[in-house]
């Protein structure tokens, strides 16, 4: 099985749109995962049929029993995450700020604080016309998104580990969810855009990826919005020895297809769809090489 994550550094460069189109164009059996658990959008393009929902339990959270609490304030003094709040003369712990460290349970002189399991999301297992999709709904603001990403990937590998390809729609950024997404993948496709922010964020995410040693590939989306910046990205990729395997033009057909809820490659021979076909063909070549290297 080849594991490929589509990532970007910068948000909104077109990861999900490209992942959905690639699911149509890449051959063989596949399992899909949406690891952008904060704001999961892949389902909006793949019309999945939901098969199963499982609760996701994040870190345990501290809860104060007001009947036992003697209001000494020791928990508030020791909590490094400012999660202990006073409301109408009683102490309570903000579930949005609590990181589940349990220090408060340790310092409470009357054992009024306990660690309670908390559901912070759901893992969804669905059927699409190109294979199973594992996605998630995170309780907004819940945190633990890196753990949830890990759980989504684990579900996909446990249930569909025999597929030829594991295709992952990744999160933006370089932090905990991104690191969780790229750990163990064979290749990453970084989707960027021709702007100072796009190039800057590409450079940062590549630095992070290199610590995990996957094969790194780049595509520029909406490249024709700034040909000069697109050229700069191309030069940078060449210098860094990173294959630039696709250049997708700005195309109103993309927004139309997102509104229609389908990958752009389903809506006819739009310029963006044709460019993604070339991207997919180049990607298959590159993945074959990664496969051989393994």
């Amino acid at each position: 099985m080849i594991r490929l994550a589509v990532i970007s550094g910068k948000g909104g460069t077109g990861k999900t749109m490209i992942t959905a189109a690639l699911s149509r164009l890449l051959g063989g059996t596949m399992v899909l995962a949406d690891c952008d658990v904060d704001a999961a959008n892949l389902e909006l393009l793949l019309s999945p049929h939901l098969l199963q929902t499982d609760p996701f339990m994040g870190m345990k959270n501290a809860v104060i029993d007001p009947a036992t609490c003697v209001l000494c304030g020791e928990c508030e003094a020791r909590c490094r995450f400012d999660a202990v709040e006073t409301q109408e003369g009683t102490y309570h712990i903000s579930p949005l700020r609590c990181e589940g460290c349990a220090v408060c349970t340790q310092v409470c002189p009357v054992s009024a604080i306990s660690m309670q399991p908390r559901q912070t999301g759901e893992i969804l297992y669905s059927e699409t016309c190109r294979g199973h999709l594992v996605h998630a709904r995170m309780v907004p603001g819940a945190g633990n998104s890196g753990l949830l990403v890990h759980a989504v990937k684990k579900t996909a590998l446990e249930r569909d580990g025999s597929c030829d390809l594991f295709l992952i729609d990744g999160p933006p950024g370089t932090g905990c969810p991104l690191i969780s997404t790229i750990s163990g993948v064979d290749a990453v496709l970084v989707v960027t855009e021709p702007s100072v922010s796009g190039l800057h964020d590409l450079q940062r995410v590549v630095t992070v990826c290199r610590q995990f040693r996957p094969r790194i590939l780049v595509a520029i989306n909406r490249f024709d919005l700034d040909l000069e910046k697109a050229g700069e990205i191309e030069v940078w990729c060449r210098r860094e020895n990173i294959p630039l395997i696709g250049k997708i033009p700005f195309d109103p057909a993309v927004i139309a297809s997102v509104r229609a809820g389908v990958p752009v490659t389903d809506t006819g021979p739009a310029p963006a769809a044709q460019a993604i076909q070339i991207l997919a063909a180049n990607l298959e070549q590159e993945l074959k090489q990664s496969g051989k290297q393994r």
């Binding site: 949005l96 907004p140 819940a142 932090g175 855009e193 702007s195 100072v196 927004i255």
Partner: protein
């Protein structure tokens, strides 16, 4: 007032809105602009110049091997699995540590103390006479964005007018950035992705009890679904910015809309006034 700019979906134009607001307001009043998107900070690209920089550190445990009796209490207590006690030594995994200090509390021998470990940097610059820019940058490969955001916000506690640009998404880095704000601008775009993620972001600000309004960016005029959502949820649409290749090109080169096209300054000044009115803050 403390004004946060958030979005749910990435790439909708948060940094663009935050940077243009700060640029417009800083002609007449002292503004502090904080880049809380510490995983991919971009605001400094629009305000180049000299800056001073210092490290952001978090406390991590150091085990005094001579005092440690390998009892395993620290590893048993650590909720993140950052410590593993072997018969003759203790393994520490810094990337898993949340710096809660719990291990130092539970060690019966007092064999654990804490030492600072760098996780990122803060850079502070003065790109305009009345504009202070604080950029938090997470070190590449470090998973913990929250301490860097917390430090960036701490740097501005005494500043009266603060604009915070946040990361995309709805998890801990976003909560940390917008918590304590007087108002939050939610930036969206007129696509189903934009709307879906706007709903999530609106949910987060509602949970935090922060009043909010919406900016629609790159509008192609087909905003009916977004407008309906905003009406249903009592979110005022504060500004609509049309899609234009010209605006995209200005941004792409690292310029600001309000610098390249000064006529936009009155739109952003009006946006700030609306936010202050909705937040109930006197200008």
């Amino acid at each position: 007032m403390k004004l946060a700019v958030a979005s749910g979906k990435g790439g909708t134009g948060k940094s663009m809105v935050a940077a243009n607001l700060a640029f417009t307001l800083a002609w007449t009043e002292n503004i502090t602009l904080i880049d809380c998107d510490v995983e991919e900070p971009n605001l400094h690209l629009f305000f180049p110049g000299q800056h001073e920089e210092h490290d952001v550190t978090v406390p991590v445990p150091v085990i005094e091997e001579f005092a440690c009796k390998h009892c395993g209490k620290c590893s048993e207590f650590c909720q993140y699995g950052a410590l593993t006690v072997l018969p003759d030594r203790v393994l520490f995994f810094p990337e898993l540590c949340h710096s809660c200090g719990g291990c130092t509390l539970v060690c019966p021998k007092g064999a654990i103390h804490e030492t600072p470990k760098r996780v990122g940097t803060l850079s502070i610059s003065q790109p305009m006479p009345k504009l202070k820019l604080i950029t938090g940058t997470l070190d590449a490969g470090s998973p913990h964005a929250v301490p860097v955001i917390r430090e960036a916000k701490r740097e501005s506690v005494r500043d009266p007018e603060v604009i915070l640009d946040t990361a995309p998404g709805t998890s801990c880095p976003v909560v940390e950035a917008i918590d304590g704000s007087d108002f939050c601008i939610l930036v969206t775009e007129s696509t189903p992705f934009g709307l879906h993620d706007l709903q999530l972001a609106a949910d987060v600000v509602a949970r935090l009890g922060i009043p909010a309004g919406v900016v629609i960016n790159r509008s192609d005029g087909k905003d009916d679904d977004t407008i309906r959502f905003c009406v249903d949820h009592d979110l005022e649409i504060l500004l609509t910015i049309p899609f234009s290749r010209e605006i995209a090109a200005i941004q792409g080169k690292g310029d600001l809309l309000c610098r390249a096209r000064p006529e936009w300054q009155k739109e952003f000044a009006a946006l700030a006034l609306k936010c202050r009115a909705l937040a109930g803050v006197e200008p």
